[in-house]
Amino acid sequence: MTYLAKPKFHHPALPKNALGYTHRDYEGAISTLCAGCGHDSISSAIIEACFELAIAPHRVAKLSGIGCSSKTPTYFLGQSHGFNSVHGRMPSVLTGANLANRELIYLGVSGDGDSASIGFGQFAHAIRRGVRMVYIVENNGVYGLTKGQFSATADRGSKSKRGSVNRDAPIDLVAIALQLGATFVARSFSGDKEQLVPLIKAAIEHEGAAFIDVVSPCIAFNNHAGSTKSFDHVRAHNEAVNRLDFVSPRAPIAVQYAPGTVEIVEQHDGSRIALEKLAADYDVTDRLAAMNYLQTHSALGHIVTGLLYVDREPEDLHRHLDTVEAPLNTLSERDLCPGSEALDVINDGLR
């Protein structure tokens, strides 16, 4: 990390997005993570995605649990409310926040310890309820803040920095998210911004539970030979099933693709994902096939990345609950209090 404060001024010719914000308006405080940490790349991908989508920064609420990954919301979107909650419990806090105001964008940032161990239950239940959110796990296979213990996503046979070998079976959060009914599931790599930024953009526009597992090597404790979450290992085993370009409803598709290589997936809100197919037989709208593909290729030691599944017609928690369109936190006594007359009727019924 650096201790030098960022200057407040910036170049007058910095490019502005549709709302007139510059890239700088989406930045946060200076990161206190280790230099070269994969998490910082993810933070900058989030900044990039929000800038490109021209989201008003204050319309995002960023929530996290505990751990290195959960510290990162301080380092992006400084004009957004943030909530560093308790270990493994971000999903429930985010669920409550989402219930209170369905109009904000909810960004949940978590780690593999936070989501696959202590918070495995909360991760599962937020996904299965279909809370509209972007749930990013910054997955490095170790507990960084407590200096390098294995986490539950560490692969069997992976070696720790001190030389011990993990014997426990790993939890693959992508496989679990697919099984639990997440309507947008992706995996990416912190070292591949080209892939990650459009994924985050598509996830933000998705009207349901969007989950992105980002393999994010820990430079301090899990970047050595023998680790399956090191930069070298991930680069060597990364198998991207597609490359995508995300197009919001407000902009036309600019890139020209060779015919037959691109699939256009239209989301419920009218936004479109242009998928350049790298694995010819991969169908992003087939949940069962995705699960099968993932298992088969993971057995071969591949790290399957890209947009793995998307439901074009997702349903979210508010739709399940059939709540009013107005955010619940804007309702006043006039909307909520039935008044004394109704109470008299209730009293009468109790005599």
Partner: protein
């Protein structure tokens, strides 16, 4: 057994129904209690039930009291013994001179009966078998048949019962006639075969007034509806589940948008209590009024989050319907044993506001007030019910709501204020009351955003691990707790008609038994001033009350004298002045118990020097 004169008492006796869980007796028994109320005679009704759905013994106790004593009395004057499993014990529990109603289809040996009671055999099973071919109906209607028998024995108004049945089955009219028929069957047989009425019986009176009959959980849930709660997250746990159920039920009638048919509330049955309180905190942080309903074991699971809400200053409301501990303890028995665990819930230095309602009407009031307090104080508020208040229907003053009342949303800085350049520091005490302004997420494009974390930040929510700002913040939280004292419900004091050196402090479901105990003690010439505590932190009235008396009994339904502990630790009171009087076997405390214990203590003091309890 010596013969005893049959008890003779009008509008003042206890009926106990001994049933098997799952036999459908509950609605017939409740119908009995409500029929007595319709005759203008107050009742106190209580369920004693096991942690079971079908098969184990359950009792329903109806205390009929024209004088209006609503606490449990203890003992039983008329036993309706419908459970063979507990028959001998049930018969043994009848007061000398009392009455037994049993199913005489199979004759009992006289050795199983007592000679000092009046035994009334009604061939219930035989009558039902003859009338209904279907076994399920025989079982269900049997309850209505014994209700009919009781109506004859106690000289009840059959019209009152019929009206109640018609009201109960409104919309399912097909069921009205058969139920009324079953009651008539029992009543006619009894009038024909048994000398009616008994020595204990009912006479129409006018002692109920406009009071309502409702359980505290439903009342608290209705309070939450009126108080503007929009998010409820909960996990099923006896005895609190019916509170969340009632909230859902009331909302489905009172909170539907008339134009769209959509819901102005959200209820989540969470995966556990940790998620419940997490959802409540997330919603509270984002400006919705949110609550959870739970009991002691749930409070234990929520500890870490409760601390976060205290330090991060997030409004939250927790209804704790207390029961016996621990998790595998006495889930269906009542206690007041979570006071300390709630008052100091979580790790680090924490203190929380507790509200202590005594009956359904107060559960409604506090259930609504809790949301104003949570927003005003930006902290978790605990509404401490117990199983007795929560799960039993009580005769209670009707609910009242002032239509001019506005919700107090506390100190929330608006977009306009931020736009006007008003200084915003999330933890900055601008008014000197320890309460800082907050903003809802999404308020202003460039002002008012902050990062929420437990501590490790300064008055402007900027990250720091320095000791100075930490202490500064902790001192402000103490100041806020002082402010809370001025906002929570004040204790209710009632003095004896003559000056006395003795006082008694009590709270919650002990209240009705205490009223009666004072009456019993005064009849014996013993006078006490009384103070009903309604909240923690304590109002200064509590200290004044203790200082004005030589001896103050602190009556509680737990083993360790938890309120007394709080009084000693928070008010610096001399423990020697505070005599603990504790009842915690899981049954509701009775006036007999309180009057007996206080009476013994005061009698003993006439001959022995003061024993310093706890000193």
């Amino acid at each position: 057994m010596p013969a005893a004169t049959p008890i003779s008492s009008i509008n003042n006796f206890v009926v106990r129904f001994a049933n098997v869980n799952g036999s459908g007796s509950a609605s017939a028994n409740e119908l009995f209690a409500r029929a007595v109320l319709r005759m203008g005679v107050p009742v106190a009704a209580r369920n004693i039930f096991p942690s079971n759905i079908q098969g184990l013994p359950t009792w329903y106790e109806v205390r009929v009291s024209q004088a209006g004593w609503l606490g449990a009395r203890g003992g039983c004057d008329l036993m309706v013994a419908m459970n063979p499993q507990t028959f001998d014990k049930d018969v043994a529990s009848i007061e000398p001179g009392g009455y037994l109603v049993y199913d005489s289809t199979k004759p009992l040996t006289s050795s199983r009966l007592r000679s000092d009671i009046t035994v009334i055999g009604v061939p219930l099973t035989a009558m039902c078998n003859q009338r209904w071919p279907e076994p399920r109906l025989r079982q269900l209607f049997k309850n209505m048949v014994y209700l009919g028998a009781l109506s004859a024995l106690l000289d009840m108004d059959p019209g009152a019962i019929e009206t109640l049945i018609s009201e109960q089955f409104k919309g399912k009219e097909k069921l009205i006639a058969p139920n009324i028929g079953a009651v008539k069957l029992g009543r006619d047989w009894t009038l024909e075969n048994i000398p009616c009425p008994l020595g204990v019986r009912l006479v129409r009176a006018d002692a109920v007034g406009d009071r309502i009959f409702i359980d505290g959980n439903a009342a608290a849930a209705l309070g939450a509806v009126y108080g503007g709660a929009t998010v409820c997250a909960w996990y099923p746990l006896t005895p609190s589940s019916s509170l969340a159920d009632a909230f859902t039920r009331y909302c489905s009638k009172l909170r539907i948008d008339p134009e769209t048919g959509k819901k102005k509330y959200a209820v989540i049955q969470a995966e556990d209590e940790l998620a419940s309180i997490g959802i409540v905190i997330g919603a509270g942080w984002n400006g919705a009024r949110a609550f959870t309903a739970t009991s002691g074991p749930g409070i234990s699971l929520m500890q870490e989050f409760i601390g976060l809400a205290y330090f991060a200053e997030i409004p939250a409301v927790l209804f704790d319907v207390q029961r016996g501990g621990p998790s595998t303890g006495m889930p269906t028995r009542t206690q007041q044993s979570d006071l300390v665990s709630c008052a100091y819930a979580s790790h680090g230095d924490t203190k929380h506001v507790l509200l202590l309602p005594a009956d359904p009407a107060e559960a409604f009031d506090f259930g609504a007030d809790a949301f104003d307090l949570a927003d005003r104080l930006q902290t978790p508020i605990f509404v401490m019910l117990d199983l007795d208040i929560g799960m039993n229907r009580h005769l209670s003053r009707p609910f009242v709501w002032d239509d001019a009342r506005k919700y107090d949303r506390g100190k929330v800085m608006t977009e306009t204020e931020l736009e006007a350049g008003r200084d915003f520091g999330r933890y900055l005490d601008v008014d000197g009351d320890g309460i800082a302004y907050r903003t809802y997420p999404g308020t202003h494009p460039t002002r008012g955003a902050y990062f929420t974390r437990g501590t490790s930040r300064d008055r402007y929510a900027r990250y720091t691990e320095e000791g100075g700002p930490y202490v500064d913040n902790m001192e402000r939280l103490l100041k806020k707790f002082e402010t809370a004292k001025t906002l929570v419900p004040r204790p209710v004091r009632k003095n004896a008609d003559q000056p006395t050196r003795h006082g008694v402090i009590y709270y919650g479901s002990t209240a009705p038994a205490m009223d009666e105990a004072i009456f019993l003690l005064e009849a014996g010439g013993m006078r006490l001033d009384r103070l009903r505590v309604r909240a923690f932190p304590f109002h200064h009235d509590v200290v004044d009350f203790v200082m004005e008396h030589d001896t103050v009994f602190v009556v509680e339904q737990n083993r360790d004298g938890q309120l007394r502990t709080l009084m000693v630790s928070e008010c610096g009171l001399d423990p020697a002045r505070l005599v603990p009087l504790l009842h915690y076997d899981g049954t509701p405390i009775t006036a007999r118990y309180i009057a007996g214990a206080i009476g013994n203590h005061l009698d003993a003091r006439k001959v022995t020097p003061l024993r310093k309890v706890g000193a």
